[in-house]
Every structure is written in structure tokens, then in C-alpha cells.
Symmetry: C2
Subunit: 133 residues, 2 copies
DNA sequence: CAATTCATGTTACACAATAACATATCAGGC
DNA sequence: GCCTGATATGTTATTGTGTAACATGAATTG
């Protein structure tokens, strides 16, 4: 399942596995707590691993939550824009991408001479299953 | 200039003015420091004012910065989606909205049965003036 | 085997946000 | 005027999030 993950180190592996096990986003300190038994003692151990995992594209940061999720589409990450629909009730996160939005943001940036380095798109709300029907 | 701002209280006014004076986003603690002479002593005084200002739509929160800006378009805030292009070099923030993106996000949500409560769109990068040409 | 680079461990600290509780101010209703 | 509920404010302490600084260990390379 886990495809060609670029040779993670021990700590990176531990953090990545913790995020993969979880069924929702985890804060760095929650990860730290989960890895106490594996020898983790300080936040930096988590943050350093997360930095690498983010660079590898294996993990995403949810800015509006100060939390992290394992990437749901380890494949085609050619997309500059990755969006997240975050349910505030159950905590589930739905990762998506949309070429139209991507193009639109790109042309907006182009028009203004703005060179985007990172794009954040996050929807906070209530998912179908949590919604009173 | 400042249109029909809905009767701000003293603290709300102070915080709003601080954000309006600034030429970029301010963190809550920066605001606190700027308002020491006006009697501000604790973060809560800032956060409480910000909560109201956010509710009034006079201020926006930049999730990827943990910072706040005065709204640049106090008028037509009928838009659900408000985007920000944030220059990581000079700190300038460009507020924009785009109906195409808005529609696209809305139909995405609709299709999934997701009910969005808040939408975050933030571009981090380099603005035209800061870009080596 | 150095020399370099990268991963790791540890302590202390800075920055962001809230909890809990007390006090003050103001608007109606009587 | 006086009570009362609602909102705004002040203050202290605490929790949560993220880094700085420095030391050590392991791997790579010439
Ligand atoms: Zn992904
Ligand atoms: Zn849900
Ligand atoms: Zn605005
Ligand atoms: Zn700039």
C-alpha cells in the first residue's frame, strides 16, 4: 500500500505511521504523546520529522487547525493546489484538488505578478454523515 | 472612509485602529504591545475585541500566519470566499475574491453533502514588488 | 581516517490562545 | 430611582503550539 516512500528514518517512520493510523488530523503534541513509549521526549523530535514528511509530500499541514494529516493521495501530486474539507463535528478530513480552482488562482497570481510558493484551501464545516438530515 | 462600523466599544476601536494603521497583518501579541499605553495588559483584551471584529467582518484572520488584518473591502462582503495573497518578503497582503472559485467550492461541497461554515484561501509567496525581475 | 553532512537528544524559551473568576457598565422594566 | 439581565472589561494563571541553542551520534565521502 504505502508506495515508494523515500526511505524514512526511524523518527520519520514513527510519526508517519502515527498519522496513517489516525482517522483524522493530529496535532504535533498529540503525536508526541502517542510516541512516548517509542522514546519520544520533546516536541522537536516530532516537528523535525514532520518537516521532512511535509517536504516529501507525505503529510499535509492543516493551517486552520494547527494539525497534520497523512496524504490521502500519495500518487499524482502534480497539483499545486490541494484542498481540504474538514468536518468540525467528527474531525474527518476530505482531501481534494480541482484544476479549475488551480487555474483560476494561477491566473490571478499571474495577473498580479505574484509568485505563489504555497497554496492553502480549507473548508471548515459539517460533513454529510454528521449533518442532521 | 471608515463606513458604517457598527458602534465599536473602546477596546474594539483601539484594536481595529491598530490594524487599520498597520500596513500588514499583526499578531494578537503585537497588537497587545502596541496598546500597552492605552491600558491593555492581557492577551484576552485583544482576543475578545478580535472576536467581535471578526464577527462584524471588519477584520480577517490569516490562518497560515496566526495573524489578523483589517478588511480591505468593507463593502460588498456578500462573498463566501475571501482569498489572500501574502508576500513572505514584505508582508503585504492582497485581499481578493473570485466567483468562479466560490462556485467551484460550493458545487464541490454540494456534491459531497458538505456544508461549509468557513472557507480559507491563502496564497503564500512573493509579490510583484519584491520579486527579482 | 578525517571531514562533512545529516539525524537525534535535551533544555529552555518564545509565541498563541483560553479558563476561570471578579468587576464594571448599560439598557429596560418596574 | 432601583432591580435585573446582558454585555464589556480587568486580572491571574494555565494550556497549547513552535523554536533557539547546543551537544551527540551515525552515515557518507574523499
Ligand atoms: Zn495529498
Ligand atoms: Zn463529520
Ligand atoms: Zn474583507
Ligand atoms: Zn512583497
Amino acid at each position: 500500500m504505502t508506495a515508494e516512500t523515500p526511505d524514512l528514518t526511524k523518527n520519520q517512520r514513527l510519526v508517519f505511521d502515527a498519522l496513517s493510523r489516525a482517522d483524522g488530523p493530529l496535532s504535533a503534541y498529540t503525536i508526541l504523546d502517542q510516541l512516548r513509549d517509542d522514546g519520544f521526549r520533546a516536541p522537536l523530535q516530532v516537528y523535525r520529522a514532520l518537516d521532512k514528511l511535509l517536504a516529501f509530500g507525505l503529510v499535509h499541514r492543516l493551517e486552520s487547525l494547527n494539525a497534520f494529516v497523512a496524504c490521502a493521495h500519495p500518487h499524482c501530486h502534480r497539483h499545486a493546489m490541494i484542498g481540504f474539507a474538514i468536518c468540525e463535528t467528527c474531525g474527518q478530513v476530505d482531501e481534494f484538488s480541482d484544476e479549475v480552482i488551480e487555474d483560476r488562482l494561477a491566473s490571478f497570481a499571474q495577473a498580479r505578478g505574484f509568485v505563489p510558493a504555497k497554496t492553502t484551501v480549507e473548508l471548515r464545516g459539517q460533513c454529510a454523515r454528521c449533518r442532521p438530515n
